[in-house]
């Protein structure tokens, strides 16, 4: 195939302890470390491996988000992507809108494969890939932990609640990644320098056909209810006693 499109989202780094803003409008992002959504990094790694294996000639990374998302796209370029596209939009947007905007790019670039994360670890929606697959009328394989490309087809293994499912899909298709698919490579310093010279196109969301307004209103963002503080016990007998007290053991 000629091109692989990889969708990457800028999110709060998975190691950061999330704090809710006191005014309940969202979570604190000021001064917080931002990264590529971990599943998207895995998607990019897989795309690079497919290219290195000779099954694709170009890897394009795309993100929709604020101007700062350029940082994550540059990291993607440093990992080895050939070029990047940023659709610039400052407000938070829902998966349906993201997928519609992505479908415009898919139409233009006509990738043979689209790789994305199975979920963004900020909104935890787990929707965008599947919506995009339907909008483009192409197959999807979600939660994937193994991919092999065979010409115009791919065989994938999906992590489902009951175990591991195998699917064969025609290309072009969308694959969403699970954690066990691969271990993303580390970025080396010379690659960061090289990445600065690669193309990063910026498109304003207002230049797109997609309507970026929303029909789901966020009323409030609140911290989860706290759990009651627990106790420490010294041995198995004390544990039994504590469980009995809670009625969990007779």
């Amino acid at each position: 195939m000629e091109k692989i499109l990889v969708c990457i989202k800028r999110v709060i780094d998975y190691n950061v302890k999330i704090r809710v803003k006191p005014d309940e409008t969202g979570v604190v992002t000021e001064g917080v470390k931002m990264s590529i959504n971990p599943f998207d990094e895995i998607a990019l790694e897989e795309a690079l491996r497919i290219k290195e294996n000779g099954d694709a000639s170009e890897v394009i990374v795309i993100s929709i988000g604020p101007d700062d998302s350029q940082q994550q796209l540059r990291t993607g370029l440093a990992m080895g992507a050939d070029r990047a596209v940023l659709i610039k939009h400052d407000e938070e947007i829902e998966p349906l809108t993201v997928a519609k905007a992505l479908s415009e790019i898919v139409e233009k670039e006509k990738p043979g494969l689209i790789l994305m994360g199975k979920q963004a670890i900020d909104d935890d929606c787990s929707q965008t890939g599947q919506i995009l697959a339907q909008l483009c009328s192409i197959p999807q394989a979600t939660f994937v932990s193994q991919v092999s490309i065979e010409g115009e087809k791919a065989t994938v293994v999906r992590e489902i609640d009951q175990g591991l499912e195998t699917l064969e899909i025609d290309l072009p298709a969308i694959i969403t990644t699970d954690l066990r698919l691969n271990e993303p490579r580390y970025v080396k310093l010379p690659d960061i320098m090289k990445a600065k010279k690669k193309t990063l196109d910026i498109i304003e969301s207002s230049e797109m056909e997609t309507d970026f307004s929303s029909s789901i209103e966020v009323i409030a963002v609140t911290p989860p209810p706290p759990r009651e503080s627990g106790i420490m016990v010294e041995d198995v007998d004390q544990l039994f006693a504590a469980l009995k007290e809670k009625g969990l053991m007779s």
Binding site: Q127, Q130, E165, E168, E228, M232
Partner: protein
């Protein structure tokens, strides 16, 4: 009153508990609840008709539904959905795979992981692995399409006898671009992770697949199910379907044992609704103790055998 349609989640001839939990969520939205069963032959529909609070079971039997292929099911659900105001699926891998394709066809935004119903159009859902809770409102006049966080709702009773309505396959295109190649799942006699009242989970601290036998032995003594952290799955101690957490299963047992698990937020995300969390770790500073109800600092290889012997 709004009409609710639920898409049944089933596997290998059995209706899954996630369907009943989704009906429970629906019962807080409306009393007018139908279940749609897409299957090959009518094995699941009679099971669905016993779930309390269900009015009708729409049964579509077709070769296309021998396996749950989202791209085959989505156009059919979207067609049936025309007569409904609210479409719910469980937030299992089945529901999460399928629901967004319906969202695309109907052109409505989907709500993922309803954890509570606050009003007919007002829902709470977790974000950031449950470290924040969003309250969201679906616009008036718009169809509600959502997945339901099954750990937040209990299974309903099975004393119903709802109408089973054999329904014709709608005239929609079922694509052939996706072909099923089998499921590899390890059969176990132990209760399902998502319904078990007691779950014993092991982490990297368990050390090996062989050492997990100790957990199975304890589980069998307690009639419990066995889960694991991602590190234990990645290390190959246990299969992927045992992973508990943000990217594994979200569970709500009455009693949860975390053995040799450090307590990363992604793991905690899967057990926030557990009744009582017991943590066993040899490191007194392990973060798991911050959320555990009962903690014990000890070596799990001493703890488990002693616990087993005292259960005899």
């Amino acid at each position: 009153m709004s009409k609710v349609l639920i898409v049944a989640d089933h596997f290998d001839g059995d209706l899954l508990a996630s369907t009943s939990k989704t009906v429970n969520c629906a019962s807080e939205i409306s009393e007018d609840i139908d279940i749609l069963v897409l299957e090959k032959d009518s094995i699941i529909s009679p099971q669905a008709s016993t779930i309390d609070s269900v009015k009708n079971v729409l049964s579509i039997s077709n070769e296309a539904f021998e396996h749950p292929i989202a791209s085959s099911m989505a156009p059919v659900v979207a067609e049936i959905a025309n007569d409904y105001d609210c479409i719910l699926l469980p937030s299992t891998t089945f529901g999460r795979d399928l629901a967004p394709r319906i969202s695309a066809i109907l052109d409505v935004n989907q709500v993922t992981d309803i954890m509570s119903v606050e009003g007919p159009r007002l829902f709470k859902r977790p974000i950031y692995a449950g470290n924040a809770i969003q309250t969201i409102k679906v616009a008036d006049g718009q169809k509600i399409l959502a997945t339901v966080r099954t750990a937040s709702f209990k299974e309903l009773g099975n004393s119903n006898n709802a109408n089973v309505i054999d329904t014709d396959m709608p005239a929609v295109d079922v694509p052939s671009h996706t072909r099923y190649g089998g499921v590899q799942s390890e059969k176990t006699e132990r209760p399902d992770l998502q319904v078990a009242s007691t779950v014993i989970s092991g982490g990297r601290g368990v050390g090996s697949a062989d050492n997990f036998e100790l957990l199975y032995e304890l589980a069998d003594k307690l009639g419990a199910s066995v889960g694991a952290s991602r590190a234990a799955v990645d290390a190959g101690f246990v299969p992927n379907d045992m992973q508990v957490g943000q990217t594994g299963k979200i569970i709500a047992p009455e009693l949860y044992f975390a053995l040799g698990i450090s307590g990363a937020i992604q793991h905690i995300a899967g057990i926030k609704d557990a009744g009582t969390i017991v943590a066993v770790n040899k490191d007194a500073d392990a973060p798991i103790f911050e959320i555990a109800d009962i903690g014990i600092v000890t070596d799990l290889f001493e703890f488990i055998p002693e616990l087993i012997s005292k259960l005899d």
